[in-house]
Amino acid sequence: MTEFKWVGKVVPRVDGVEKATGRLRYLTDVGLPGLLHGRIKRSQYPHALIKGIDTSRAEALPGVVKVLTHKDVPGVNGFGIIVPDQPVFCREKVRYIGDAVAGVVAEDPAVAEAALDLIEVEYEPQPVVDDAEKAMTSDSPRVHEKGNIHQEVHVRHGDVEAGFAQADLIIENVYKTPRQMHTFLETEGGLAFYDEEGLLNVWVGSQYPQRDQLQIARVLGLNPRKIRVVSSPTGGGFGGKDEITIQTQLALMAFVTKRPVKLWLSREESVISGWKRHPMTLYYRTGFKRDGSLVANEIKIIGDTGAYASLGGPVVSLAVESSCGPYRIPHVKIDGFCVYTNNGVAGAFRGFGVPQSTFAMETQLEIAREKLVLDPIEIRKKNVLRRGDIAPLGHTMTASVGILNTLERAEKSDLWCQREKLKSQTPFPWKKRGVGVAIALQGTGLGVGIPDYGAAIVELTEEGQFIVRIGSPEIGQGNMTAYAITAAEALGCDLALIKVVTGDTRNSPDSGTSTASRSAYTGGNAILDAVAKLKPKLLAVAGEMLGVDRAGLRLAGNRIVSPQGRGITLAELGRYLREKGLEAGARGNFVWPTADVQIPGAEGLPHLVYTYVTQMALVEVDTLTGKVELREAATALDAGRVLNRQGLEGQAEGGMVMGAGYALMEDIIIEKGYFKTMNLSTYIIPTSLDLPERHQVELVEVLEESGPYGAKGAGEAVMVPISPAITSAIHDAVGVRLKEMPAAAERVYQGLRGEEHGQ
């Protein structure tokens, strides 16, 4: 086994000092001389026709440079990763309260703000579509002309009615999940300007600069090469900066005024205009045999995607894919609908549709278990998929399946083994404790067996530093550090000599999006490829300079040395290369596994490789108030080979807390299209005091041959089953069965009262 110098070591983040000292300039911190300030005039109604926009008074306000409307959009007045259906500036209609109607650019932020009020928009309010299910009926008002159903997914496998005929127990329920918000701390913002080369620069924190560049290009009707996007560093993303946020409006402001412009959303504006997790309504009818084995599942999922598509279609597809959990079910009928409403907008969010359906499926199973008087682990073991099984969607599980292993591991956790004791340790008679378990699978990779791709450029400067250029932005996940470590290790140089440039379309190659757990690995391999090309080249030139054979040369610290001890510094080498006009860098790329791509015509179904996870929760319910506290949690994760234990544990810990927040408190409430939760005082996320005392993380390594070194992705699955584990634990504690999240105190309290009434 090779001894690593940097890999696997505790290495401080390369951006750690800058971030800790506050010296790091986020893109919303950057200023420029002559900077103008942009503001967005948003809709006053959740759904209305625009009858007229009068900007004349705003334009007349001293200090206002330009008022922009749809008329100023030179290209396509729309954006959206899948379908560009969201207007940059609305023309004839507004579809949600965050819709942009006009933009103001002014010399001063206060002037810009004042000008907003002077823009007069005449509306003809339309009936508000605030219920996704009602929106699907033919006589519902339409959010979009093509109809309110953005996408439908229909899966049929086996014969569901025959399946139910065989069932001894049929459970039927309706589930509802909340509208979770990413709640990144840096709201959407940045600046745009023309540089001396004539490129339009757009500096806005996001997750994929090259795609932003393309979307901006489409809006401006401009060759993408005439646009530079810088999107790193970013103060948090989690999927909420995957889609365009303000980039197109900001770019347009600079495009029209030809001056630098800054646009930065307030928290309230971020709440009303930004992306959320899809609230879903899930209808489940599930059939079991007396022994607990699953025979049939009929599911209808309705996802409220809000006013525009963004990634709503794929999110609902993934909800459908995971709607039967990691179980064998021979007969299924699943229908998914992604529906437009006037309720904000929903899009990508860690978990990507899986948390919603997992909550429903796991609760179904718990209810059956209770009726059939079975052990929660046993009923799951009985039903879980094994390698080679036919999955509910009809495809064969050809890759490794580790769900059983995670169950077995979780079963041995302290939390489970000592559950009766833990449950009995309640401090007050009105507090009751319970334990719950839930499991999940989540497709890994970039979805659907798509080959992931990364590119990197490594080059030696005249100062003797190595610059590593790689597109995937730093959004806090630490990929810059990972890149630096990888490069230093491969080059065999000091870590301090590595400078990483990410998230810049001009200075870093396209390496895909920064979404949990892909960027470090994919990018890292691209760096290795680049170094493998660069290093021999450097050594050869160094040999030439030293007049020795290159064979014995090696890189040490900041020098290249021969076995005889002669050497040159990297700076000397860099200057030499420059003088001779030689290539001082190399481009590497990495495509990961293409072997798992399905053959068209064969069971063309989603992911082949899945990550599996079992999570357990110990909760304490205050029976007088309904308040729930998560006391302990356990996670058993099969993410294939563990490449970085600490990193994986970090993911599991963070994910578990996010899932707990989802189960217990987080929900953006919208009534008749208006937001009721507008900021962080009303939208509640877990604080350090809301964390469990203990979270045991067990990593189960079921090697996946097709994965790099047998690894699979883990970033998303770790937040998924904890939510139903918590709600099941609540049931275990107080007998309240929640079919709607979050389990806020009041909802549990009502459940407690309902139970009493019921008795």
């Binding site: 396509v76 379908v83 393309l214 401009l222 060759n223 993408p224 798509i450 396209d510 895909g512």
Partner: protein, 288 residues
């Protein structure tokens, strides 16, 4: 209805450049006319002067200059199809030009005109971009040369200044081991504006089923014809079989930003970037 304009018809390039130098702001040059006449007819442009380039015979030549092919701006698509030089030296361009409009349109339309029109769907442009062709712009003050890819600014917008004229297009001649494929999807088999198209130009690797150099250009999938550098990289120096080809070509969707119009939706177009690229590479690797 066409508005009234003054017409100039220079006989030589210097004469044309002199006129542009003096009246460039008002002059609309017309080459084949297949696009300009429609715009005039629709009233979308109302120039005060039109410069008929049809007498500039010096811009109608195809020349082999060293290792490069020089195509005059007024070379018609038909001339590209019929020239013995282009058939051997620029087969990819021949494939692209073959799918332009109809025989009549190919007889009239010129390479320079197609570039100046700068339609994202122009059928000759992806080939030029994939071949890394350059465009030579001439003005009274001199000439400048730009990569075609950078020449295109947006739909109907280019780097050509009003006093400049596209003089010629330069592209490197095909070398041993290089192959290409142009794949167009239209609403029908002729007289069709591309829903999507892709031009692929590769150099075969030494090992079987490998490519040592790949150039891909997508048409009708972004504001301008767009190179697919990510997929190019992913395809280079890697053993390719049907399965890996299916996998890698899926990266294509990330390279494009199409729009929805009466011909197709943005989503379909994006999927077609993948399908057309896959078919093209399949033809190159496994069928020829």
């Amino acid at each position: 209805m066409v508005n009234d304009f003054r017409l100039v018809r220079p006989k030589t390039l210097p004469e044309a450049l002199g006129l542009l130098d003096e009246f460039g702001q008002e002059i609309e040059p017309v080459a084949g006319g297949t696009d300009l006449l429609v715009k005039l007819e629709d009233g979308r442009i109302r120039p005060s002067q039109v410069m008929d380039l049809s007498a500039l015979n010096e811009l109608k030549q195809i020349r082999l200059v060293g290792e490069d092919l020089h195509l005059g701006a007024l070379v018609t698509h038909t001339a590209v199809l019929e020239s013995p030089l282009t058939r051997t030296e620029a087969p990819l361009l021949v494939m692209g030009c073959r799918t332009v409009g109809s025989t009549q349109i190919r007889n009239m339309g010129t390479l320079g005109g197609n570039l100046a029109t700068a339609s994202p769907a122009g059928d000759s442009i992806p080939a030029l971009v994939a071949l890394e062709a350059k465009v030579v712009l001439a003005s009274k003050k001199g000439e400048r040369t730009l990569p075609v890819e950078d020449f295109l600014v947006g739909p109907g917008k280019t780097e050509r200044r009003r006093e400049e004229l596209i003089k010629e297009i330069i592209l490197p001649c095909a070398r041993e081991g290089e192959k290409g494929f142009y794949n167009k999807l239209g609403q029908r088999n002729a007289l069709a504006i591309s829903i999507a198209n892709v031009a692929v130009w590769v150099r075969l690797g030494e090992r079987k089923n490998t490519l040592s150099r790949v150039r891909i250009a997508f048409g009708a999938l972004a504001p301008t014809v767009k190179r697919g550098r990510m997929v190019e990289d992913a395809l280079t120096d890697r053993e390719l079989d049907e399965a890996s080809l299916k996998g890698i070509t899926q990266l294509a969707w990330k390279e494009v930003a199409p729009i929805t119009d009466i011909r197709a939706s943005a989503q379909y177009r994006r999927d077609m970037a993948i399908a057309l690229l896959y078919q093209s590479l399949y033809h190159i690797l496994f069928l020829s």
